[in-house]
């Protein structure tokens, strides 16, 4: 399976890449929502999963989710917010816009693995 990590922090992308590759995902990265949309539109293989930060320059994670959900061809992509944004109203807004899961930073590798298992995306266990 393929995962796209969308976060403006290279450090966070690196942390998430290690977690998902340990769970046997192939990982790609984007530094903001627009860059991620460009990758989706490029014709390359679609990811099964996007891990999305909220607060990013150029295009934030919420806008990215709404744009993805406007395209029926991307309906099968699982969208998981991974963000410091923890206001209840924004969590509800992201889920209503089409996010499947919501993880608040900081997180552990186990927490990501458990969420992915709940989504049926992996049965692997992080050591």
């Amino acid at each position: 399976m393929r995962a796209m990590i969308i976060d403006d922090s290279r450090t966070m992308r690196s942390i998430l890449r290690r977690i998902v590759t340990d769970l046997d995902f192939e990982a790609s990265e984007a530094g903001d929502g627009q860059e991620a949309l460009d990758q989706l539109e490029s014709g390359a293989d679609l990811p099964d999963l996007c891990l999305i930060d909220w607060n990013m320059p150029v295009m934030d994670g919420y806008t990215f989710i709404t744009r993805v959900r406007q395209n029926p061809e991307w309906r099968q992509i699982t969208l998981m917010m991974v963000t410091t944004e923890s206001e209840q109203s924004n969590i509800v807004r992201a889920l209503a816009a089409g996010a499947h899961e919501y993880v608040i930073k900081p997180f552990t590798a186990d927490a990501i693995a458990e969420k992915l298992e709940l989504l049926g995306l992996t049965a692997a266990v992080v050591a």
Partner: protein, 159 residues
Amino acid sequence: MTAQAYDAPALDDLLWVADEVWHALLGEEEGLDRLDHPRDMSGGPVETVWSAGVSISGTWQGNVTVELGTTAAVALTARMLALGPGEAVADADLADAIGELVNMIGGNVKSLMPGPSMLSLPMVAAGRAAHSSDSVEALRFDAAWRGEPIRFSVHVPRS
């Protein structure tokens, strides 16, 4: 610690947030040690200190800042990026890593305060943090990680 005369998170909450972030990023075995007698971070050359801050604007307004010595910043970055012992830490990587650190701490401080509010993107600098003259330090604690000093502070508008 500054006396808490301004609307700010409780010191225990800030300690809890910092510990949570630290353990999540570095593992349970890596902890912050609270310093009751903080070391002066202002006496050395500017290159020996890094600072990162985020601002929160909305119903509650404030700035959350982390300051740490270059030794700690380099070690922290190497851990966050899982660099090997011989791998150099570039300034850009260091700025990104401590920017993400303060982003997480600031985001969790924001969640403790009345909303709605917005969190800025992090700003990182080589040197001590600079604060607006119309803000005041509402909360601070000094800690050590691997013996190196780290300062966490919250500034709020002067009322």
